[in-house]
């Protein structure tokens, strides 16, 4: 296999999160426009300054990134549409960074956003994938809750994790979310609340599930020279990986594609897990965050339950995790759920996270996970994002 080239010379700037709403009467176009504008304004740019545009969204139908260019009045020379849900943030970053490195674009806006109408979650489910239509929905139509219930059941049986262990992740994230004014969840969550919650699909209960909501996230990719010229705080990409349909012969998903590529990621970033200051996992369910803590090398396989028992996962803790509250407490704004951790990571290492800022955050691991095509998440991605001086 050929050696991965570095991302030197390319940086990430202008992280922007449009505050989430539980339900919205607006469209995905509206939400994407809000985040794009927010990001551009924070960088002091006009839409005409962009020459690259990358979009991730589930609710744009019948439009794609193409329709958005005309709708939003953009004239990019590089255009991308990323249908990878929870993995889309890091994937967008990888592609945009290479485009900027190669000179195919100078400034790329990466945006993800979705709306959430009263019925849009149900409608999205009903047309998610062919395998899901044929072989998943007819079985109780529990959506992702049912899929992850099966993974959680198997994970608990195999590694001895308990509901209390999953609860620790959820409770820490709620504490983080209370510092994020854009989060949908505003009430504190105790372990008693967590354990007593209404069962949804055993062993998953209410607080294991994300709240579908409307929201959008954006950041810009440009050369370091450009960022310096414009006097913008920036983050570097120390390394980034993606993988799709890993381990198809595993009877049930207890590990993700990260396992195949994680050594290369640390090698590319010339670092090790112990140097990582904070972790942003894709947290559609706490079992998936546990899988990432293991597969990204923070502990051995099966040890994540012990790991979360031994660490404080809050902003001020010894292992800050999903500092903006993650999807479990900030909400899952469709494809923006694939960006929430990355955008927060850029804020953290540029020292612009405000109330959720972790002191001395220099190296962040961000991982993505997406698309329950049938019985498991197919896409996985991860990146190490560092501060200007790390």
């Amino acid at each position: 296999m050929s050696r991965r080239q570095s991302y030197d010379g390319v940086v990430l700037v202008a992280p922007y999160s449009e505050p989430y709403q539980r339900y919205s009467i607006e469209t995905a176009h509206w939400w994407i426009a809000r985040a794009l504008r927010g990001s551009l304004q924070s960088a002091g740019l006009k839409p005409g300054d962009l020459d690259g545009f990358s979009v991730a969204s589930f609710t744009l139908f019948p439009d794609t990134a193409v329709g958005l260019t005309q709708h939003l009045g953009l004239c990019p020379r590089w255009l991308d549409h990323i249908p990878m849900g929870g993995a889309s943030g890091v994937v967008a970053l990888r592609r945009a960074a290479r485009a900027v490195q190669a000179g195919d674009a100078d400034i790329v806006a990466c945006v993800a956003g979705d709306t959430n109408h009263i019925d849009s979650f149900r409608n999205m489910l009903s047309s998610f994938s062919r395998f899901a239509m044929d072989a998943s929905y007819p079985y109780g139509y529990g959506g992702p809750n049912a899929n992850f219930a099966l993974l959680t059941d198997r994970y608990m049986q195999t590694y001895g994790a308990t509901r209390e262990d999953f609860g620790r992740i959820c409770i820490a994230q709620r504490a983080n979310a209370l510092k994020n004014p854009g989060a949908v969840m505003k009430k504190p969550l105790s372990l008693d609340d967590y354990m007593a919650a209404r069962p949804i699909a055993d062993p998953i209960a209410l607080f294991d599930c994300v709240m579908p909501c409307a929201g959008s996230e954006a950041f810009l990719v440009m050369t370091e020279d450009e960022a310096v010229k414009r006097n913008l705080p920036f983050a570097r990409i120390a390394g980034a990986i993606e993988r799709h349909n890993a381990f198809p012969d595993d009877p049930i998903q207890l590990r993700g594609g990260w396992v195949m590529d994680i050594d290369e990621l640390y090698e590319q970033a010339r670092t090790t897990p112990d140097t990582i200051d904070l972790l942003q996992t894709y947290d559609d369910y706490p079992v998936i965050s546990m899988m990432q803590i293991e597969d990204l090398g923070f502990c051995a396989k099966g040890d994540a339950a012990a790991f979360v028992r031994a660490h404080d996962l809050t902003i001020t803790g010894d292992f800050p995790h999903n500092t903006s509250g993650g999807q479990l407490s900030a909400g899952q704004a469709g494809a923006a759920g694939g960006f929430i951790g990355l955008v927060e990571a850029i804020r953290q290492v540029t020292g612009t996270a405000g109330p959720t800022q972790v002191a001395d955050a220099r190296r962040t691991m961000v991982s993505g996970f997406g698309m329950i095509n049938y019985d498991r998440g197919v896409c996985s991605s991860a990146a190490i994002i560092t501060s200007e001086t790390a």
Binding site: F121, R122, L125, S126, R130, F131, M133, D134, A135, S136, Y137, P138, Y139, G140, Y141, G142, G143, N145, A146, A149, L150, L151, D153, R154, Q157, R198, P199, I200, A201, D202, P203, I204, P248, P251, I252, Y374, D375
Partner: protein, 417 residues
């Protein structure tokens, strides 16, 4: 263990009848192979013709070697339950109304891992057998059941929703004079049907089966002739709302094809009974049955046609009779389409020559009334759409699947060499 179903309480006429809702019925074309197998009660998956890899979910290309030659093959239905969940909430109305619902993940001995419904009698992480059944949308779903049968396992609410079990249900048989009628009535009673209605035409005219029917006990006779629209409508008005299973066994048969008969008199009678009779019944009873397809333990559940296997391919000795059955068969397909939104199932039981005076000159094997009754009850219990009763019908079906044109040659005298 499964809790035995209790007989439903008397219907409260002031309560609103529950509208039938459906589990998701959308499927890719590849996936319909599973439904075709379920219609006959078989468990089949795609197996690559080149590398042999068994596929699931259904595909258009092999996930092992990219071959596009993926025929459906009966495979071992055994497997092990890997994980399970009980779904307590769903955005789909059908499942929302029926929650909690047990589903799981099963490693099949044949290779793939499947998501499936899980029968309540299955042990956690236990060995299971997969049944391929039609759900109320009419599409195939997979259900894990214990390896060994358990007491009253057919009463499990998930399984019951996929079958047309006569237990606690009321059945109507259309033609008391048909030699099948006593055997059908006795088998329904044996299977736990709560009421059995038998329609008689021209009640004043005695017939040998009457005594046998009376001997079964508890049979209610009604005056109905499938060739008389007003009698059918009258009886539908009275019984349509309490018919859960309708078994149309009315038959008019005479030997002969087009040239063997000098006129259309018998052909008209055959069409009157075999085709228009079915149409009249469907128009009169269909709407009421469709409206009651979710009406609790004794919901309307199945429409059964007993057809000649010659509806598939014409037998020249009984050419005109075969044609009338072909018309009825075609109409049954239309009824499937029109009943689909309600979940009411159309089951066709195809038979070869039956053991009665009209087939006296035809050599054996012939089908007895008891065999037809067994096929009907078995098909209802398994929720089937197509049942092949007796060796002649099974043989016809196999030949038809292999090549309908070759079968036509054989049936029309082109194959005796």
């Amino acid at each position: 263990m499964t809790t035995p179903l209790t007989p439903p309480p008397r219907k409260d006429p002031q309560k609103r009848t529950v509208s039938p809702t459906q589990p998701p019925g959308m499927r890719s074309r590849a996936s319909l192979g599973l439904s075709a197998a379920a219609a006959e009660g078989r468990f089949a998956l795609q197996a690559c013709a080149e590398c042999g890899k068994v596929q699931y979910p259904p595909r258009d290309a092999c996930s092992g070697c990219l071959s596009t030659d993926l025929p459906w093959r009966d495979v071992s239905p055994s497997g092990t339950l890997l994980a399970e969940t009980t779904i307590r909430t769903s955005v789909n109305l059908y499942f929302r109304e029926r929650a909690p619902w047990r589903t799981g993940s099963v490693q099949l001995d044949a290779g793939p891992v499947i998501l499936c419904h899980v029968h309540n009698d299955c042990d956690r992480n236990g060995r299971v057998v997969i049944w391929n059944r039609l759900d109320r949308s009419g599409q195939a779903v997979l259900l894990a059941v214990p390896e060994e049968r358990t007491p009253v396992m057919e009463d499990d609410p998930q399984l019951r929703a996929m079958t047309s079990d006569p237990k606690h249900r009321r059945a109507l048989i259309t033609d008391a004079r048909n030699p099948n009628a006593p055997a059908l009535a006795a088998a329904l009673k044996q299977a736990g049907a709560s009421m059995i209605f038998v329609a008689e035409a021209e009640s004043w005219r005695p017939y040998p089966g009457r005594k046998a029917l009376e001997g079964i006990g508890g049979i209610e006779f009604l005056q109905m002739d499938v060739t008389d629209t007003s009698s059918v409508q009258r009886m539908a008005g009275e019984y349509g709302g309490k018919t859960d299973i309708l078994i149309n066994n009315a038959r008019f048969i005479r030997p002969g094809g087009a040239l063997a008969r000098g006129d259309v008199a018998f052909a008209r009678d055959e069409m009157e009974v075999n085709y228009l009779g079915l149409l009249r019944l469907a128009q009169a009873f269909g709407p009421a049955m469709c409206g009651r397809a979710a009406d609790g333990v004794n919901s309307a559940v199945a429409w059964v046609n007993i057809l000649s296997a010659w509806s598939l391919s014409n037998n020249a000795e009984f050419g005109c009779f075969s044609a009338s059955n072909a018309a009825a068969y075609s109409l049954s397909q239309n009824l499937r389409a029109e009943f689909r939104p309600s979940g009411l199932r159309v089951m066709n039981v195809f038979t070869g020559p039956t053991e009665d005076s009209w087939f006296q000159p035809v050599p054996p094997p012939k089908v007895t009334p008891q065999a037809i009754a067994r096929s009907v009850i078995g098909g209802l219990r398994d929720g089937l759409e197509d049942v092949w009763c007796g060796d002649v019908a099974k043989d016809m079906h196999e030949r038809f699947l292999q090549n309908p044109k070759i079968l036509e040659r054989e049936m029309t005298g082109g194959g005796q060499g």
